[in-house]
Amino acid sequence: MTRRPDYHDPERLAEVLALLHEHGDDAKLVAGGQSLMVMLRQGLITPTALVDLARVPGLVGVERRNGALRIGAMTTIRTLESDPTVRRLLPTLAEAAAAVGPMQIRNMGTVGGNTAHNAVGADPPPALLALDATATVASADGERKVPLDEFFTGYFETCLAPTEVVTEFSIPVPGVGTAGAYLKFASRVVDMSIVGVAVVLRREEGRVRGAQIAIGGAGPVPFRARQAEASLQDASWSETALRDAGALAAEESTPLGDIHASVAYRRWLIRVLVPRALKAAAAQADGVEGAR
């Protein structure tokens, strides 16, 4: 076995940033460690240093601030799944968190790690993308804000430089009457998504007043189905409108074909899952209305 990396678990973010500055690409950050440790054990990566974020304060938690929900990057998937505020205000994200396969991974895995890893078929990234989240990214040079639609750049790649770390996500709290849902298709419930569809939906008097649709698993990066979204804007809520949106989303996707599913199959799943996710969101909104 190759030499084990040195292990650093600093108690201040400044130390993390200094270590990244010093080691560059030879250092790897540990968030939940749920993908990293596997890659390490399989010899897919051979960093000389691990920088563990576990003891850095201020990276965990959900907080409402100035019309936005601020979610610390080290907040666990389990928290997103169970936190009452997330469930009430951002059901799309809570459902995506619950869809992450095994319970042990949800207990340890973090929203920051999951997003920065950008694995194809990860569930939280399309939810964050649909919700117009912004990532706060820190380095020794300072801080920058990155909208999620600029965050994912390629297959397992993001805009993050080796010296940078995501510290939090900020998500605008959707207005009253906004609903959301996340639907995933996988061969088994614990697997990564072959296709995952995250939607945020606002309707008024039988018309769509806004639909945000993000799709994961289909291509190298999660993407917003902008044409499908545009087709729904101010459309009357009908089977036809939903079906058209599904077809447009399938058309504007650039799926990968792999051992799990072909390009054509992924397109078909998008066509089916987009209307289904929109209906799930609508049903949930109607349920909430009914309960009032």
């Binding site: 084990r4 990396p5 040195d6 292990y7 678990d9 540990v30 460690g33 749920q34 440790m37 596997v38 390490l40 054990r41 399989q42 691990l50 563990d52 576990a54 389990r78 169970s82 396969g101 095994p102 319970m103 042990q104 991974i105 207990n107 340890m108 088994r188 419930v189 614990v190």
Partner: protein, 161 residues
């Protein structure tokens, strides 16, 4: 780059000299001699290595030993109290919920962790929980029955208060 970590293991304070980047599973099995956490796939796929850290199920094959410091860790060896089996252990026996047995410590600890947050889980809930771990014998049906029995009786106790 070794360091000493001190943690609570099955209720007892222990220390171990570890490489902080090695998996907790290796520390438990190879240094501390507890073989209940099983070496299965070693790539976080099968769940046979599941242990509880602070009451939460984690996969010890990918849990950094360096993170064990100060934590409360429970393995299957720590589940019985004063010679009395945990309700889940007893139920697994009563329901014959094991074939070769290799995955069972992981299954029980996984379920133990899940039941702390679920009140009156449905069969679908239980299936979703058990889907986190693999049983190569495919003996899930009896496990579902065993967990259901414990979840129901726990629920009844809670309701009786």
């Amino acid at each position: 780059m070794r360091r000493t970590v001190a943690f609570t293991l099955n209720g007892t304070a222990v220390t171990a000299e570890v490489d902080p980047t090695q998996p907790l599973l290796e520390v438990l099995r190879d240094q501390l001699g507890l073989l209940g956490a099983r070496r299965g796939c070693e790539t976080a796929y099968c769940g046979a290595c599941t242990v509880l850290v602070g009451g939460l199920a984690v996969r010890s094959c990918i849990f950094l030993a360096g993170r064990a410091g100060g934590r409360e860790i429970t393995t299957i060896e720590g589940l019985a109290h004063d010679g009395e089996l945990d309700a889940l252990q007893a139920a697994f026996i009563t329901h014959g919920a094991l074939e070769c047995g290799y995955c069972i410590p992981g299954m029980i600890l996984l379920t133990k962790s899940a039941l702390t947050t679920m009140t009156q889980p449905t069969e679908a809930d239980i299936r979703r929980v058990l889907s986190s771990n693999l049983c190569r014998c495919t003996g899930y049906v009896k496990m579902i029955e065993a967990v259901k029995a414990v979840a129901t009786s726990t629920g009844e106790e809670a309701r009786r208060g």
